[in-house]
């Protein structure tokens, strides 16, 4: 039962062995197309983000004020300034400001600037942060963001795989035991998924950190970090328990409910009854007759849930002080660190794009329609 999803592949290939080459080509072709399409999509998404971020020249204003402030400060240290008249002083300052604005490209028309900014954003080349720095001391936005990425990915890949497999197997089990007590309990629990993960996180902190003291309130490792690698890993695991469980609980019941209903609909189909009548064992029926046609839809549902997961991460990480992207975003938002905010938004767009892309590949691998190349071209 551990890998019910995997045996699809040999079974599928044995039937169409002579077509393997073209199947691979089609999958590659499909994936390539999707990749280009998704890249364009991400590009548009990031451009929109930039437009929103700079709507009405807001970001430019912030930058202009910053330049003015910097110039004013630097003039304060300039020994020549004392010999100038007020008029000269003002002119000198204006000249410096204009110079700086030109250097930052602020004198160019907005359209041109936005494309330059887009290029910078896509390569995460967003310059330096004013008031933030990475733990390693760098003030480059790219370093600040990339440093936080692993923590977020660690947390969310764990949650994702946990909930995916639990959801799959529990819903299969429930569709087999339709109407049993546990089935009814889980269906009754489905509405609890209306609350986001951070909400459960609050309760967990209250219960397991504040009252019982079993787990830490938040953070990535205990302070000071353990010396040994094993100790470090264990400490991280210990800190992961609460956020992972919170995310897991917030999505699992609705997920199980959805796929259980879905499996139920399919397990009442005529061809499944036929297979049962033939006397095929339950496992084979599940794998070949129920899972196989439902997989693409399940995967699509999954794509949407992951997207929700990414956004939930901003608050979840803030609540748990998890040093990931979400918390970075929150911190940057609180001190108006524009470059980091835009950069994090871009990274989120990338992450969503990559997520959708990987799911597309999975989709291509399991959806027979992609494999056969659509209705018309499949026969050649």
């Amino acid at each position: 039962m551990t890998d019910a999803a995997l045996p699809l592949q040999p079974g599928a290939e044995s039937g169409e062995r002579q077509q393997t080459q073209s199947t691979l080509a089609r999958v590659v072709h499909y994936t390539g197309l999707r990749m280009v399409a998704l890249f364009v999509t991400v590009l548009i998404g990031v451009y929109l983000t930039i437009l929103i971020a700079n709507m009405g020249g807001h970001v430019d204003d912030i930058r202009r004020n910053y330049i003015r402030e910097q110039v004013a400060i630097s003039l304060g240290f300039d020994p020549d300034i004392k010999n100038m008249t007020a008029e000269e002083r003002r002119e000198h300052a204006e000249k410096l400001v204009a110079l700086q604005e030109k250097r930052m490209g602020l004198d160019q028309p907005f359209l041109l600037r936005s494309f330059r900014f887009l290029l910078g954003a896509m390569t995460l080349n967003l310059g330096w942060a004013d008031n933030m720095s990475s733990d390693s001391g760098s003030r480059q936005v790219r370093n600040i963001i990339l440093e936080r990425l692993p923590a977020t990915i660690l947390l969310f890949s764990t949650t994702f795989f946990l909930s995916f497999f639990v959801q799959l197997f529990v819903s299969l089990y429930l569709s087999r035991n339709y109407g049993s007590l546990i089935d009814r309990v889980i269906v009754a629990l489905a509405p609890t998924s209306a609350a986001p993960s951070w909400f459960y996180g609050l309760f967990f902190i209250l219960l397991f950190a504040a009252l019982l003291g079993w787990f830490p309130f938040g953070g990535l490792v205990s302070a000071p970090p353990p010396d040994t690698t094993t100790g470090y890993a264990l400490s991280v695991l210990n800190h992961m328990v609460l956020p992972v469980t919170a995310t897991f609980l917030s999505s699992i019941f609705l997920g199980i409910y959805g796929s259980r209903t879905f499996f139920l609909i399919f397990s009442n189909a005529d061809y499944v009854d036929m297979a049962r009548a033939k006397g095929l064992p339950d496992r084979v029926i599940e794998r070949r007759y129920i899972l196989r046609p439902t997989m693409p839809t399940i995967v699509t549902g999954l794509a949407l849930s992951i997207i929700g997961l990414w956004f939930g991460s901003i608050v979840l990480e803030t609540i748990f002080n998890w040093p990931g992207l979400g918390r970075l975003f929150y911190l940057a938002a609180n001190i108006f660190e524009t470059a980091v905010i835009v950069g994090s938004t871009v990274i989120y767009a990338y992450l969503l794009g990559i997520t959708v892309f990987f799911l597309d590949i999975v989709y291509a691998l399991i959806d027979p329609r992609v494999k056969v190349g659509g209705n018309s071209g499949g026969q050649s």
Binding site: G45, P191, F262, I265, I314
Partner: protein, 453 residues
């Protein structure tokens, strides 16, 4: 009407739906009551009025009902005076002419203290009426066992507040014990584990005034550890206000966001399906872009750069979800029903495109979308709470999310102020579950097989 009645009859088959409907009805009723009882401007004024409005409330006090738990007996706030406003037994004010120039104005506060815990703070608000010579007030504390403790001597000029906890001399006189504990402590109990002495306490504010018309009024506040039905926050604000006002705000936000997003998505899907071709393809592509658009980060950006008003957020949320993934679901259904013969009939009598879209296509699938719409309401309520937790809540309105956010920023969980988190969370959860239960039941009533889309 019959359709609605039939739906309600079908819903009554599900106990969960009945419970959910009861919750929603209670919320609606309570929201209407709140909006009438505390008008919008008053709510905003109270919530944003600063500490002055709530001067006589304790800080982060638990709700009063914690005293119902066995073994818990927290003190309530005792407010006495000025004389004439409270009953004569507890506040007695006498006026006695000592000499030609000096008059004694003595206010005696008498109160019973029966709680097992110490009060939070003691303050005396003094106000004088005089022309030139400032009145002098000396304060004395009388404990039930007959001890007399001198508190302080104060010259009163206009309104003066004596905070007992800030009287350093008093603290020294009490051997370094904080006054709110030292004044109430039972001398028999050990110093490490002080217990309050129960009984009748008295505070005597003996004032000397030096003019004929001069007077001194005093008001004693012994801040308790519990307050009101919901407790108070770090700014002494009564949480009842925020919890009450949070309900209409949550309902309005959730409802409007759900209506706005589902209707706009529906119209887009209908337009795409009806016109087909490039229009449909464009809408489909935009939907794909929209799927990758990081909605929450963009909302946060809008909150930071433009406005934190809850209505701006609502508008942005709706605009961002016009092309949400819901389009795909509606589109699939539209594609099916588009082939129905009555569309041909409509076209035959010369109906325009938009007439067909709005009067023929959209009404057909609204029932199938009702469940999703009901389920979506709480998720939007939680979006508001999410924004508030990220410090992007509405700057004026008290909402549940704001309360949670304040609690989080002030480390409520770490410091053990559990009520502060639990109350808004419980309300959020109850309203969320109420809508979700109704929505799920509606789902089963309306479209038993539609889930497969």
């Amino acid at each position: 009407m019959t359709a609605i009645r039939r739906t309600l009859a079908a819903l009554s088959q599900y106990p969960s739906a009945v419970a959910g409907l009861a919750i929603i009805a209670a919320m609606v009723f309570f929201s209407i009551y709140t909006v009438i009882a505390i008008p919008y401007s008053e709510a905003v004024n109270l919530w944003r009025g600063g500490e002055g409005v709530w001067l006589e409330n304790p800080r982060t006090a638990m709700p009063i009902w914690v005293n119902l738990f066995p073994g818990v007996n927290q003190p309530e706030t005792i407010i006495l005076g000025p004389a004439g406003e409270t009953d004569v037994d507890s506040v007695r004010k006498t006026r006695e002419i000592v000499s030609e120039e000096i008059t004694d104005v003595i206010t005696t506060f008498t109160f019973d203290f029966t709680a097992d815990e110490f009060p939070q703070e003691i303050s005396l608000f003094l106000r004088s009426e005089h022309e030139q010579k400032r009145p002098l007030v000396s304060l004395t504390w009388l404990t039930p066992d007959g001890r007399e403790i001198r508190i302080a001597d104060v010259t009163v000029e206009g309104p003066v507040t004596v905070r007992f906890s800030q009287e350093e001399k008093l603290e020294r006189r009490l051997d370094g014990v904080r006054p709110e504990i030292g004044l109430f402590a039972d001398p028999a109990a050990s110093e490490d584990d002080p217990r309050p002495l129960k009984g009748t306490y008295q505070l005597v504010a003996a004032g000397l005034v030096f003019e004929d018309d001069a007077d001194v009024d005093a008001r004693l506040v012994v801040y308790g550890q519990v307050y009101g039905l919901a407790g108070t926050d770090h700014l002494r604000r009564d949480l009842t206000l925020a919890l009450m006002w949070g309900m209409p705000v949550a309902l309005a936000f959730g409802l409007m966001a759900a209506v706005g997003t589902s209707i706009s998505t529906l119209i887009m899907a209908a337009i795409g399906v009806w016109f087909g071709g490039i229009v449909d393809a464009t809408i489909q592509r935009i939907t794909e872009v929209n799927l990758i658009l990081p909605v929450l980060p963009i909302l946060i950006m809008i909150g930071i750069f433009y406005s934190r008003s809850i209505w701006v957020m609502l508008g942005a949320l709706i605009v961002l979800s016009v092309f949400s993934s819901g389009i795909k679901t509606s589109r699939a259904i539209f594609l099916q029903i588009k082939e129905d013969p009555y569309f041909e009939a409509a076209r035959a009598y010369g109906a325009g495109n938009f007439r067909i879209i709005f009067l023929y296509l959209i009404p057909r699938i609204i029932p199938t979308l009702v469940p999703g719409f009901v389920v979506a309401i709480p998720s939007f309520v939680f979006v508001e709470a999410t924004l508030a937790v990220l410090n992007l809540g509405d700057p004026l309105l008290p909402t549940w999310g704001k309360v949670l956010s304040d609690a989080r920023v002030n480390d409520a969980l770490y410091q053990g102020h559990y009520y502060w988190v639990l109350e808004p969370a419980a309300l959020l959860l109850i309203s969320g579950i109420g809508f979700a239960m109704v929505g799920f039941a509606l789902d089963r009533v309306f479209n038993p097989r539609l889930r497969e889309l």
